[in-house]
């Protein structure tokens, strides 16, 4: 062994030992160097931990107990989850969410595309006014909207039936019969959310290169053909995004059915979040409500994944 090799070997181990001691110190120094960055993002993480992370973990823990909000929690094992599986009323609310989804989301999405297409052509005057008008319902308070729709669609004294009567059409049981009530709720949702989705579609359309539309016009395509053959296919990723939001939004519906129909008639417009609310604040069964919310979460994750698979097929070749 050459004298250099020995020395190098000795230096190597000594160097290795001192690096090991220095690593945590180096990390601390890096922390110190970026301390202002950490300080600025800390408030978000502190609030996130307290108000989101802790409740999420606590309610998971809670779902295995029975608790009335006061006093001790009683361990229940998987009992709550077993009861959820058999809870006909809860699964009815899930079914309602699916039915209401198909009642209004296709129509609303299509309407949003049409509005966005109209707004992005040169045909329509007063673009700003129309955009404001279409978007305005989205920023209105949902509680006020719910009460107003309830008055408007009252089968006896509401103005909708009043207007229909002028046209000679019979009174419609807007809020008195299960399927009609779901439809009325759907109408409310369309009115409230079409603006939001129009904005999304508008952004999507504006990202389509102008040349494509010009080429189509040169080839003699009319506006409807352009919409159907060019705009909508090219909007596919945006549509998927909008529909995903609509799925999650529909399952999460609470304010609108709570105010408009209180879940009735005969549980036709009861949604899963309304069930969670009822079990927590009226029946005081916090553990059961927590179990429902986790089952609900699992279902939504599953549905969203399935949806991605179906709608994205052929998207990435």
């Amino acid at each position: 062994m050459s004298p250099d090799g020995t020395t190098k070997a000795l230096h190597g181990t000594a160097a290795a030992r001192s690096t090991a001691v220095r690593r945590p110190a180096a990390a601390l120094r890096r922390l110190g160097r970026h301390r202002w960055a950490y300080a600025f993002i800390a408030p978000f993480f502190i609030l996130f931990t307290i108000f989101l992370l802790y409740p999420i973990l606590f309610s998971f823990w809670l779902s295995f107990h029975e608790w009335s909000g006061l006093g001790a929690m009683a361990f229940a094992g998987g009992g709550n989850y077993g009861r959820v599986a058999n809870d006909g009323i809860f699964w009815n609310s899930m079914r309602n969410a699916v039915i209401i989804f198909f009642l209004y989301v296709p129509a609303m999405t299509f309407l949003a595309i049409v509005f966005a297409a109209l707004l992005s052509t040169g045909y329509v005057r007063l673009q700003g006014a129309w955009r404001a008008l279409i978007f305005l319902p989205y920023v209105t308070n949902m509680v006020a909207v719910g009460f107003t729709f309830q008055l408007m669609f009252d089968s006896r004294v509401g103005i909708v039936n009043g207007a229909l009567a002028l046209l000679g059409l019979g009174p419609v049981p807007w809020l008195d019969e299960p399927m009609w009530a779901r439809l009325t709720l759907g109408l409310l949702m369309i009115w409230a959310w079409v603006g939001y989705n129009t904005v999304i579609m508008l952004a999507g359309i504006q990202s389509i290169p102008r040349e494509i539309f010009e080429a189509a016009k040169v080839d003699g395509a009319g506006p409807v053909q352009i919409l159907w053959r060019i705009t909508i296919p090219l909007l596919k990723p945006v549509i998927i995004f909008s529909v995903t939001l609509s799925v999650i939004g529909t399952f999460n519906m609470f304010t609108e059915p709570f105010i408009l129909t209180q879940g009735g008639p005969i549980r036709a417009t009861e949604t899963p979040v309304m069930q969670i609310f009822q079990h927590t604040f009226q029946n005081l069964r916090f553990g059961y409500a927590a179990a429902i919310s986790y089952v609900f979460l699992a279902v939504i994750i599953f549905v969203t994944l399935v949806q991605f698979r179906i709608l994205s097929r052929g998207e990435n070749r």
Partner: protein, 435 residues
């Protein structure tokens, strides 16, 4: 031992003592104050509109006797009151010193253990209030609230409709008579006998009819009896006949259409509690003074009780309150004294549960709204006959919600009365763990 360990132990010990000092010791029983002037502080009282005004009527006299107690009212509807009370109880703070709670929801709060034990304080009043009022406030022999008002039930009817149809209300003795009268009135005047919504039924009239027979959702042991008591099925079938024969007005309760039917004489009778009369006078049909009368509930069999109950409320002291002596002084003054209860009744028509109050001459006065009928003494006699029934209980809200939906299904022809009751019973048993 090492200095650092010793320091840690001392720190922990000091911390523990600090915690112990801050944790309030279990409340000793409330001692009524010897000297009214001694009690001081600010009381927060939660009540709803319609109840706050009569309470405040008594406040002047209260402040004379207890000059150092200040009162602060927070007005909110009953549903909000219960929600906020639950939140405050769960959070450990924010509860008022005095809370107004309806009997229907009282047992839930009593079962939670959230209210102060008032047993020794209410003992002198146990015989002086309507006896059935204590059921909701009681648990294991201890009492946790002081009754305020009762909801004895009778039938309010439109004199003009009955006259036009040629029906004599005094001739209605049984529920069969009531049904026959309904047919007559429908034929002659074309007006339905009562309001009974189909798709928006709230099960309140059904509960009233059960209570009249001493029946309810549960029996004394807490077992569900909806599908085992033939009397209950009889009630639901009876209600069904009115829907089948178009003798019921299908209007959602507490809506403008519902109010206007009563106002315009588009319904012949309104079976309801004494407070329904108050609502008729004040905001539903104030211009129809003199057109109304009252007759007692018909019976199923001769000799049955003609009394039932719907509603009623009590004042309670949340356990969290730091001023329980002052809170009790407030409750005792407003609800325990004849003149307070009578005064509140005079200004608001909230019917006192305090039986001594019925001796006041105010009760014997004829009421012009009911065409001079002595309605107050009628209800005063009636309220003392109300049977005990298993309608209000800690799970009432849930049971009422389940039953209402099953009645809605029955009323819209989706199932039979027997199915409605057995579905409701099964669901209630599963949800509340009863048998």
């Amino acid at each position: 031992m090492r200095a650092s360990v010793l320091r840690a132990l001392v720190a922990v010990g000091a911390f523990a003592m600090l915690i112990a000092a801050c944790t309030p010791s279990p409340e000793a029983a409330i001692e009524p104050a010897e000297d009214p002037e001694e009690l001081e502080g600010e009381l927060t009282v939660w009540a709803w509109e319609g109840a706050v005004e009569p309470l405040q009527e008594i406040d002047d006299a209260f402040s004379e006797e207890y000059p150092n107690i200040e009162l602060n009212y927070e007005v909110q509807p009953p549903a909000d009151t219960y929600q906020n009370l639950q939140l405050a109880i769960t959070a450990g703070s924010g509860a008022p010193d005095v809370a107004l709670i309806e009997d229907s929801h009282l047992s839930q709060f009593v079962a939670l253990g959230a209210l102060a034990d008032l047993t020794d304080l209410v003992e002198p009043y146990l015989d002086r209030m309507n006896s059935y009022k204590w059921d909701a406030a009681e648990r294991d022999g201890r009492y946790f609230a002081m009754p305020w008002d009762s909801g004895p039930v009778a039938v309010f009817y439109r004199r003009d409709v009955f006259e036009q149809a040629g029906v004599d209300p005094d001739a209605i003795a049984t529920w069969d008579d009531y049904y026959d009268a309904a047919l007559t009135i429908k034929e002659t005047v074309g007006v339905p006998m009562w309001q009974q919504s189909r798709a928006h039924n709230d099960a309140r009239k059904f509960e009233m009819l059960m209570w009249q027979r001493g029946l309810g959702y549960i029996d004394e042991e807490g077992n569900v009896i909806l599908d085992t008591e033939p009397g209950i099925e009889e009630i639901l079938e009876y209600m069904g006949r009115f829907w089948d024969d178009d003798l019921a007005a299908d209007t959602e309760p507490w809506t403008d259409g519902w109010y206007s039917e009563m106002n315009e004489g588009e319904v012949a009778t309104v079976p309801g509690a004494v407070w329904m009369g108050t609502f008729l006078k004040s905001f539903i049909a104030p211009e129809t003074e003199g057109l109304w009368g009252v007759f007692l509930l018909p019976v199923w069999e001769p000799g049955d009780a003609q009394a039932s109950n719907d509603g009623g409320s009590a004042l309670a002291i949340p356990e969290q309150s730091e001023q329980q002596e002052a809170a009790w002084a407030y409750i005792e003054f407003h609800l325990g004294r004849d003149d307070s209860q009578v005064r509140m009744y005079e200004v608001s028509d909230i019917f006192p549960a305090l039986e001594d109050a019925y001796e006041d001459p105010f009760f014997a006065e004829p009421d012009p709204y009911f065409d001079g009928q002595e309605v107050r003494s009628l209800f005063a006699e009636l309220v003392q006959e109300v049977p005990t029934a298993g309608v209000y209980n800690p799970d009432y809200a849930e049971m009422n919600e389940i039953m209402a939906v099953e009645i809605q299904r029955f009323a819209t022809g989706r199932q039979s009365a027997a199915e409605a009751l057995s579905n409701a019973a099964e669901e209630i048993r599963a949800r509340t763990g009863r048998s």
